[in-house]
Amino acid sequence: MSGSTLLKETGPREVFCGLTSIVWLHRRMPDAFFLVVGSRTCAHLIQSAAGVMIFAEPRFGTAILEERDLAGLADAHEELDRVVKNLLKRRPEIRTLFLVGSCPSEVIKIDLARAAERLTSQFKGQVTILNYSGSGIETTFTQGEDGALKALVPLMPSSRESQLLLVGTLANPVEDRLKTIFNRLGIQKISSFPPRQSTELPSIGPGTKVLLAQPYLTDTARVLKDRGAEILQAPFPLGVEGSKLWIEAAANGFKIKKDLVESTLEPLITRAQKALKPYIEQLSGKKLFLLPESQLEIPLARFLSNECGMELIEVGIPYLNRQMMEPELELLPENTKIIEGQHVEKQLDRVRESNPDLVVCGMGLANPLEAEGISTKWSIEMVFSPIHGIDQASDLAELFARPLHRNNLLSPKTLETA
């Protein structure tokens, strides 16, 4: 491990809870529905984070607990059955229904696993009903996807077949592109998880080698391993460096010849580095402060520092899975300050003191920082944008260069420095 400084901080946090990941999961699997068992706050959170008004009927909803549900748990289960029945009657196209636990449902201990089992047997053959927790007392933001995927793992068919399994939601075009590259390397069978249809689950078993495409899938990785899969250790596929090592980890796993790997990747790398160049000019030497939110902070910091020349002031992360992050930590510059957890007020004090050129933060904090004259980038954008892989490296850099570029366009400083 490199010489990063790892510190922990506690206090008031400003991060989304795991429910937020429904925003991209429901788009990934259009035949699935996410039913949060929670409060009006949960419903309001998801619609506010997603801006969902454009949908006639979204593929997620909330079974809002009312006072009488709190009074008797037996009734709460009956009520849940009623809500699920109505929902499935109304939406017969649903194949998988996720019951998603929330803070209130966890606190009053509604056993959603039992509910899922009971309802699955009622709707046998028509719909599979699963459960996981997206509650904010247990999960942050992207951890919701970890929970949802972990819930799907037991349904994956067993197979000893040799295959590469990409795990974690990727934008469809990016996923297609990565598969093409693996095909060129001669890896025949490549599946992805989550699949594009919830019913088309990939198989799993001792022949499966898993590449994690996202850095927040701790529990999913563990249960995949329990099913016999091998988890390939690699940094995450952000930027040229991370993507190259990530692809190479798969190539090594499948014993692909080094020459082929090199000849396949070399042109891509050359092209990507050329495309990166204008952004490096804009980003190089600029000070970057990352606040904790998406769990992508470490790979992003590594990319922006190593490939774009940005200076890392602080890398905030919601939590640290050391084992999973080890390949990333090794690539970080010496003495990178990593803060696990958060005291949002103290952290913002440090932001102001260090006068960064760019802050990566959540949506609630962005405009207040902008109003103080500090450029920002929303971390939630990283989970919606196609940023993975060698070919996307320049697009990823552009996301960070844009606020600086815009600032230059609008600020009178342009005149002085021109």
Binding site: G11, P12, R13, E14, V15, F16, C17, G18, L19, T20, G38, S39, R40, T41, C42, A43, H44, L45, Q47, S48, A49, M53, A56, E57, P58, F60, G61, T62, A63, I64, L65, E66, E67, D69, L70, A76, E79, L80, R82, V83, N86, L87, C103, P104, E106, V107, S135, G136, I137, E138, E345, G362, M363, G364, L365, A366, N367, P368, E370, A371
Partner: protein
Amino acid sequence: MELTLWTYEGPPHIGAMRIATSMKGLHYVLHAPQGDTYADLLFTMIERRGSRPPVTYTTFQAKDLGGDTAELVKGHISEAVERFKPEALLVGESCTAELIQDQPGSLAKGMGLNLPIISLELPAYSKKENWGAAETFYQLVRGLLKDIAEDFSKQSKISWKEAGRRPRVNLLGPSLLGFRCRDDVLEIQKILGENGIDINVIAPLGAAPSDLIRLPKADANVCLYPEIAESTCIWLERNFNIPFTTTVPIGVKATQDFLEELCSLLDIEISSLINKPEKSKLPWYSKSVDSNYLTGKRVFIFGDGTHVIAAARIANEELGFEVVGMGTYSREMARKVRAAAKELGLEALITNDYLEVEEAMKDSAPELVLGTQMERHSAKRLGIPCAVISTPMHVQDVPARYSPQMGWEGANVIFDDWVHPLMMGLEEHLIGMFRHDFEFKDGHQSHLGHLGGHTNESEKISKGMNQTSTEKTLLWTPEGELELSKIPFFVRGKVRRNTEKYAIQVGCKQIDGETLLDAKAYFSK
């Protein structure tokens, strides 16, 4: 348990945040898990606020639940007081904290802090956002004023005359995430100034707790938004003898009524010179010959209570529309909205289910929808023009320009906002009519996009709607369909339905062009 795909109102603690964030010198310690911090973005993104809401979330986690969450709460309270040095502190809890019953308000009061502490109890499992805002504002005003209520000299109607000063009023109810509050306040201030009435305090928007202490110095209260301020106005009347207005000045007639009401509360002569209806362009624009085509336009209205009641009156009395449906998501305002609907011969729809609203919208076949952002989306799907008149707020409802709803200027804004979508609808129809001309180029589309004036989504939807009831018994001949397609799209659904109704009545199985004309004649009597 209630299945909710989308909700008009947030939970009650969001209402409390609206009060806290609207004000200065106030801080809100909210016992809540980390996910609840999403609420900040409502203010910093939708309202584009350049400062964070003055809210400290305790962000307790599962691992804290076994231990002493009460200590955690106290730690956050003392840290927040130390850091933000507020004049007064709100302490409350969100839905999850309500379940673990730490009673943060009592904890705060036991800490010996030297500032007023208002403990909020907002039942998250039965109440909603607007109720939470009203309750918070009321508890705050009561908490700050209750000790001086006893020895405060009671005002009378003519106190201001006796004191030899101009009358002064409080403007109560404007808040962040309220519809156009920022500009309404400016407009009302201007109008009151013209009438020689001073402003004592505007609250909660822009007020500090120390300003609230001055509330009893007003001669009357102007209750701008009953959803937020009515309970406070009632309390101030009971304890300080301050009367309050019940007319909300949205629309020309309501603005006049409001001024009359306020002047009578203050015992001043209303100046008919200053308050002429010509102050607003709406009456003349509505009378001008160009507006003839507005006559009898069918409108469907849905939103919060205040704006729905006001909109119904403007539509009916000032623009000559026909209100064909109205309702509200606000249970607290249900009684008033029902009464207003009854006067128009309608039954109000009171619901929190936007799909039910969409159904009611379809059934009443309106030509214009006045609703929330959600009705705008529903109307778009149905190909009906729509103007937004009410919360919940969207970033588009916080325009950069001055655009109040209240007062004379508000009436101007309303005329433009409501009539332009109708004109766009007409334009869309013209595009449909001329699309076969050789000069026509595709891509000429107005704001309704692809849901415009030709064979389109709205047509499919209105077809689909009728399928179950009529398809088995009725058949449209190709010639009948052709004749129907010549009808402007925005009334086509209605014509189709009326024709089918007529056909069933007269026992006609096949609908051709003649049937359509017969039906038209029948229904136009």
